[in-house]
């Protein structure tokens, strides 16, 4: 290891695990050890991992509900105000009143979905602080395999329980292979 890299601050300790099952069980142990700033990386979704990591329920659902409700209201106002009050038109000989609403429903439905989808998409972006051009984990060459066949567990140095030596030993103790210190960008 070069002298230059030693002078950089540490970002995290990374450990590789042989399988999704091993990663799942390691996550349970890291959770029980009381770490807070850590994450797991795998090529695919592992069912139950949020529980193994001790993650709470995301607030995203409530935000999406608000977005969807906003979409519904937008569509309803955009349709009822002009068609029922400002410029009532008689189409197909149907009466102009509140109950002549079936043609409005598809638009309410679609704006609800559109606004929910936008809220979900941008909500995920903002909550994950995306877009992001670089991440210190990319400094670790083998991390590239995470989209293919490797399972990683990362404990970040900002965690109050983190120590370069102690965390390494802890990860080795729970079965991590290739435990490596990753440096932050300078």
């Amino acid at each position: 290891m070069s002298a230059a890299s030693l002078s950089k601050p540490a970002f995290a300790v990374i450990a590789e695990f042989p399988s999704a099952g091993a990663l799942y069980e390691a996550a349970e142990k890291v959770r029980d050890a009381g770490f807070r700033f850590w994450d797991v990386h795998s090529p695919f979704e592992i069912h139950g991992m949020n529980k193994a990591m001790g993650l709470g329920k995301s607030t995203l659902g409530y935000i999406i509900f608000c977005g969807g409700f906003l979409g519904f209201t937008t569509a309803a106002l955009l349709e009822f105000i002009p068609s029922s009050y400002l410029f009532p038109l008689i189409v197909h000989g149907k009466p102009v009143n509140f109950y002549t609403n079936p043609p409005f429903f598809p638009i309410m439905f679609e704006l609800t979905i559109l606004f929910s989808a936008f809220t979900a998409f941008f909500g995920v972006f903002i909550m994950n602080r995306l877009p992001r051009m670089h991440h210190p984990l990319f400094n670790y060459e083998p991390f590239k395999r995470v989209t293919n066949d490797a399972f990683f567990l990362v404990i970040e140095s900002v965690d109050p329980k983190f120590s370069e030596i102690g965390t390494r030993e802890f990860l080795e103790g729970i079965g991590g292979k290739e435990v490596t210190l990753i440096y932050a960008n300078d």
């Binding site: 999704a20 139950g48 529980k51 329920k57 659902g61 149907k94 079936p102 429903f105």
Partner: protein, 412 residues
Amino acid sequence: MRYEHLAVPRPEIFESRNLNRILLALLGVGACSLLITLIIGCAAPGGSELRRQFAFSWLFAFLYFFTILIGCYFWIIVHHSTDSGWGIVVRRQMENLASLIPWMVLFFLPLFFVRRDIWNWITAKESPVIDPNLRDKLSYFELRFGSLVIPFFWVRAVLCFAYFSFAALYFRRTSIRQDSDGDPKWSVQMRGVSFPGILLFAACTTLLAFDWFSSPDYRWASTMWGVYIFAGAAGAGMATIILVVMGLKNAGYLRFVNEEHYHIMGKLLFTFTIFWGYIGFAQYMLIWYANIPEETEWFLRRNVESWNVLSTFLVIGRFFLPFLYLLFQYTKRNAKFLAAISFWILGMHVLDTYITIMPFLHERGFELSIFDLLALLSIGPLLAFIFLRRLGGASLFPSQDPRLLESLKLSN
């Protein structure tokens, strides 16, 4: 995922001996109502007010229970064809419920005897001047080859009952056979059968919906009608499965069914709440928009006088309320909340069925009749009796299914 630490549960057999009093009560109520209803209904002269009330009440009760049972059957074939692992622990209850379908043949027989009071095309085709609407459609009800007339309506009824009965019994029998030998080949075989099973299910449900439940108004046509019946059936079927599983859990069986299973069943209930609303609206909007007299007649009939109140309430009660209620994760995972909405949806299914059938008879607003209740009480308790007797026939869950552990360690 590793499952070694999970103990494989031992097969559980339901003890119906402890239920003798309940069984007797069900049998008593069912048999009494059945006798009273059938005697009055059959003694009444054909075409009379009483006779028609009996006929339509019986069709209403038949539709209610029949759709619930085919809904349960639908969940079996979906479970197999999607190769699902989540619901192995509850699948036997779907099989037990669906295997009641052969008994529905018996409950269909009264409809055959009062056919002239229900399906008015039978009398209309005998009149000297045939309604041109019926003349165009008659080849759907009867196949004519020269002088040979095949009553296609009844042939379809027989074929559909044969399909539902054999398929439902096949899935239950095969699943029970796997309990004894644990051979994965049965799972593969059932999956193979479920694919054509889905196609036939769609065909049979559509035809039955047209034949039995909308042909009292033979002029009406809607391509969505079969799907509408199916949407209601699948939702009500899932509600019934949820309640049966919860009932068994409360009785001390199936202890390993937890909120993860409830969560998935709640999500499916939610899905079919939305699907019902979607289909119901799609059908309504197109007919409303096109404004063709033969089609709008259906909805006009269901929106005159007090029917309008019921129809409006159905939209709110069967769609908007359960939709908002089931939107939250907590209500799907909590047993009490999920049971409450399951009961509600079964209740709304009664209303849905009532609005489907009864406006044929009472054209000036709804009139409750004692026959409505008696017909429900004739079929429901007897089915419950047969179901409880059948429960003890095999383990309450597929104890040797290769995916049992996967289902036990379910997480959403």
